[in-house]
Amino acid sequence: MGSLMVQWLAAVFSHPDLAGALVIAGKTALIYIFLVVGLRLLGKRELGQMSIYDLVLVVVIANSVQNAMVGQDTTLVGGIVAAVTLLLLNRALTWLIGLRPGIRHWLTGDPVLIVRNGRLLWGAMKQEGLTREHVMAAMREHGIGELDDVQMAVLEVNGEISIVPKEASVHRSRRHFRGLRVQ
């Protein structure tokens, strides 16, 4: 019974040696960096715009790199090392973004104006892969049926479309366009 207990504990608290742990951390870090850069190059930063195929792609990518992260290591600590590496890198990225806002813009892009005073801005929409139907759907969600009633629509960085109706425009200034990318 005593030796069973020892074996059980060994089965629970299994761990790689230090070199193994370092290898896992290193490989995980490389994969994280590769994916962050790769996803940006892919161009689809917005979850809201994602189709089921994009979702499948993401799941498949995550699975494809699994063995590359922890390899043949089946220990408890090995997995935790990989997880902590990912979390730390994500934290570092967040910190870096706070330090240099330019990185954030590179990673997540800017909000894009797609409707101004009831007119669709086709150039911007084409570039972002939006159709008229996307905009109309967002308008209906806000209870607006006519494009004419829209003061502005903005594709936000999280992929959602904001609709600002005309009635809301008591302030006639254009200051709010500042900071938006206008094509």
Binding site: L35, L39, A62, Q66, V70, T74, G79, I80, V84, V157
Partner: protein
């Protein structure tokens, strides 16, 4: 395949269950400590991050075993733990607050509190996006901006802007 098969099966499965518990607790703690407080909804990178984490700890839970019982035990333990946490949150709301955070007012009457925003990692752009999503065009039309525990920003418009 399984280096611990010299353990009787119930012992092995209970070890798997224990490992699943430890991994979940470690992940919850890790996300609480290192997790980004960044806001603005789930981005693609967040989703990839979640999936990566799940894959990174897979072997740590299952010992790399393809055994059906191992999978069922591990998944079952996780489901039960999730349920228990739900119960705990209802009984002891302070635990939920500790783990998930509390709603924080980050701006009022058209003005943003830069100090609180910096502490929470919220950027002006995030708030402006939330303002637009409320159908408002300017910050001055906002009465209250609240950072919710789930990372979204709620905007309460001034009374005369209410539609």
């Amino acid at each position: 395949m399984d280096q611990y098969l010299n353990l009787p099966l119930p012992w092995f499965l209970s070890a798997i269950g224990m490992r699943s518990v430890i991994v979940l607790v470690a992940l919850v703690a890790g996300i609480r400590i290192f997790g980004k407080q960044d806001v603005g909804g789930l981005t693609l990178i967040d989703l990839v991050m979640v999936l990566l984490l799940g894959n990174a700890v897979q072997n740590a839970m299952t010992n790399g075993s393809g055994n059906l019982g191992v999978g069922l035990v591990s998944a079952g333990v996780l489901l039960v733990l999730d349920r228990l946490m739900g119960f705990l949150f209802v009984r002891r709301p302070w635990i939920e607050k500790k783990l998930l955070g509390e709603p924080t007012v980050i701006g009022a009457n058209g003005r943003l509190d830069e100090r609180i925003m910096r502490r929470e990692g919220v950027e002006r752009d995030d708030v402006l996006a939330a303002v637009r999503q409320m159908g408002l065009s300017e910050l001055s039309q906002m009465r209250l901006a609240v950072l919710e525990p789930d990372g979204t920003i709620s905007i309460i418009p001034r009374d005369d802007e209410a539609k």
